[in-house]
Symmetry: C2
C-alpha cells in the first residue's frame, strides 16, 4: 500500500474574516465532509482553535479517524508559509504574530501547513483545477481585493520572507492613480477588485449623462454585481465599465508575463465569472501590450474550482505536500 492509500484524505481550513470553513478532501478534489464556524466569535485564538478542532474531530471520526489524514492545509489572510504564522492580519480578531499551524499540529497530531488565501487558491488550482500539470502559471484572485499566487518550476513563489506574490499592489496608474487601501496610489487592486469596479461605475456615471440601468440605483450603493447585471442586459455604459476594468487588468498581466512567462494565467473570483464581459477586454489588452516574443503564448483561463468549494479545496491541497 502506498501512503496515499493509507492516508487517502487531507483537511483544508479556510480562515476568513467572517467564517472559517473546513473540510475533508480526497485525492480527486471531492469534499467528503465539511462544516464551518464564525471566526469573529472567538476573541482568544486558543478558544478558536479548540472550537475548530472539536468540530473537525467530529468530521474526522465519522470518516475513518485522524489516521486517514495525510496533512492539514490552512489558507489565511497574511499567512506566512515559512513559519506557519498569521502576521498582523487586519481583518482577524487576533493581533500580532499567531503560530496557528503549530497550534493545530499540537492539538490534532497531524502535520499542518499554512499560507495566504491566494497562494492556497493557486495550489488548489494546480492540484484539482485548471492548472493541473502546469509548472509555470499565475493565479489572480479577483474579490474584495486582488490577490495572486505565482507558481514557477512547479513550486509556489513565497520569496525570501514568505510574502511574495502581491500582484494586486503593483502600480498600474502612476499619474492620477486611485488611492488604494494599502495607502499608496494607482494599485491594480484599486481598479480590478469588486470595490474598484463599483468605484469605476460611480466615476463613469458622474462624468457622463449617458443613459444606464445603473442610474436607478443610488450611486453609493452600486456594487460590481449591479454592474454585471446591467451589462448582461445589454447596458452599454455597464459594458464600458467592464472594458475599462479588463483593459487595466490586461495591461498588468502583460507585464506579469514578462516576469515569469507563465503557461497560463488563471482568473478566479466574482469578476472572473463574468465570462466574456471581462475575458474579452483582458485578452485584447494582453495582446495589445505584451512583448512580441510572448505574443499568443500564455493561456488566459477561468478557474475550474467551484466557488463554494474553492476555499477549502485550495487550503487542503497544501496537505498533500506534507511529509508524514
Amino acid at each position: 500500500m502506498n501512503s496515499n492509500m493509507e492516508k487517502p484524505y487531507v483537511v483544508g481550513i479556510d480562515i476568513g474574516g467572517t467564517n472559517t470553513a473546513f473540510g475533508i478532501v480526497d485525492a480527486r478534489g471531492t469534499i467528503v465532509a465539511s462544516s464551518s464556524i464564525k471566526t469573529g466569535s472567538y476573541e482568544k485564538v486558543e478558544d478558536y482553535v479548540n472550537e475548530v478542532c472539536k468540530n473537525l474531530l467530529a468530521l474526522l471520526n465519522a470518516n475513518g479517524g485522524p489516521d486517514k489524514i495525510k496533512g492539514i492545509g490552512i489558507g489565511a489572510p497574511n499567512g506566512n508559509y515559512y513559519n506557519g504564522t498569521i502576521e498582523f492580519a487586519p481583518n482577524l480578531p487576533w493581533k500580532g504574530v499567531i503560530p496557528l499551524a503549530s497550534m493545530f499540529e499540537e492539538q490534532l497530531g497531524i502535520p499542518t501547513a499554512l499560507t495566504n488565501d491566494a497562494n492556497a487558491a493557486a495550489i488548489g488550482e494546480m492540484t484539482y483545477g485548471a492548472a493541473r500539470g502546469m509548472k509555470d502559471f499565475i493565479m489572480i484572485t479577483l474579490g474584495t481585493g486582488v490577490g495572486s499566487g505565482i507558481v514557477v518550476n512547479g513550486q509556489m513563489v513565497y520569496g525570501h520572507d514568505g510574502f511574495a506574490g502581491e500582484l494586486g499592489h503593483v502600480i498600474i496608474r502612476r499619474e492620477h492613480g486611485r488611492r488604494c487601501g494599502c495607502g499608496r496610489n494607482g494599485c491594480l487592486e484599486a481598479y480590478c477588485s469588486a470595490t474598484g469596479v463599483a468605484r469605476t461605475a460611480r466615476e463613469v456615471l458622474a462624468s457622463s449623462t449617458e443613459n444606464s440601468l445603473l442610474r436607478s440605483i443610488p450611486a453609493e450603493d452600486i456594487t460590481s454585481k449591479d454592474v454585471y447585471d446591467a451589462a448582461i442586459k445589454g447596458d452599454a455604459l455597464a459594458q464600458k465599465i467592464f472594458d475599462f476594468t479588463g483593459n487595466i487588468l490586461g495591461e498588468a498581466l502583460a507585464d506579469f508575463i514578462a516576469f515569469s512567462s507563465p503557461e497560463a494565467i488563471v482568473l478566479f473570483g466574482g469578476l472572473a465569472k463574468s465570462g466574456d464581459l471581462i475575458f474579452k477586454p483582458v485578452q485584447k489588452a494582453i495582446d495589445d501590450n505584451v512583448l512580441a516574443i510572448f505574443k499568443g503564448k500564455t493561456k488566459l483561463l477561468m478557474s475550474e474550482l467551484k466557488d463554494s468549494d474553492a476555499a477549502i479545496l485550495g487550503a487542503s491541497a497544501l496537505g498533500w505536500e506534507m511529509k508524514n
Copy 2:
C-alpha cells in the same frame, strides 16, 4: 575523489554581437585561461563553432585537457535554456533557430548548456558574486539595454518557454511613454539603459536653459559616460539626470519586489558602477514606492563580478549544473 576534483574546471562562452569571449574557470571563479574571436567574421555558424572550438581546445590542452571540464555554459542573446538554441537573434549573423549547445557538445564531447546573457549573469552572481548563497534574488543588467535574471527557490526562472525575465520591457510610463526599441512605448529599458540616459540628457538640456558641462558636447553625441563624468564633477543638471533615471528604476524595482519578494536586487553594468549617483535615488524610490510589508527587507547590491570577467564567469557558472 569527488567529481569536482576529477573535473575541477568549467568553460564559459559569452557570445556578443561583436566579440565572443571564452575561458576556463575554476570553482572559486578564477579565470585560468581565456581568449576571444570576432563573432561577426563568420557568416556560417558551422565555421564559427569550428573556430571557437579550435581556439578553446588549445586552451584546454594547455590546462589538463577536455577531461578536466565539468561542463560548458554559453551566454547568448535570445538564448533558450530549454533546448539550447539561439532563436532569431537580431544582432548575430545567423538567422532563425540555431542549435548551438548541441553543436558544441558534438564537437567537444562536453555537456553544454546555454541561456541568455542576463540569466548567465545572474547564475554567475549566485555562484561567484554578491548573491552567493541566496535562494531569491533579481539581477538587473544595465547596459545598452536593460536585462534581468530572476532566481526563485534557488532556481533560475525560465518560464514555460525559456524566455522569462524580460524586466527591461515592463511598462513603467503608460502615458506619453518613450518609444522603445521593442516597438512599444514606456518600457523600463527606454529610460534606464545607457541609451535611455543619453536620451534623458538630450531632453533635459532641450527643456531648460540651466548651465551644464554637458552643453559643451553636441547633443546627439552625448553618452551616458559623459553624463557620469559631468555628475562626478558636481554638475547639477547631470546629477538631476541620474536622479530621474534612478527614480524610474526604483519605481520598477518596487513592483518587482511585490512579485517575488527577493532577498536582494543586484545591479550590474555601466550604470550600476556609478555608485551613489544611481544607488541613492534608486533606494529612495524603492522606499517611497514599495508596499509596506516589504519595506526595508530587500537589499540593493552592486554586482561583485569584475566587469572584464563577468561575461565569461556568468556563462561558465551554468557549467557546474551539468550532469556528467
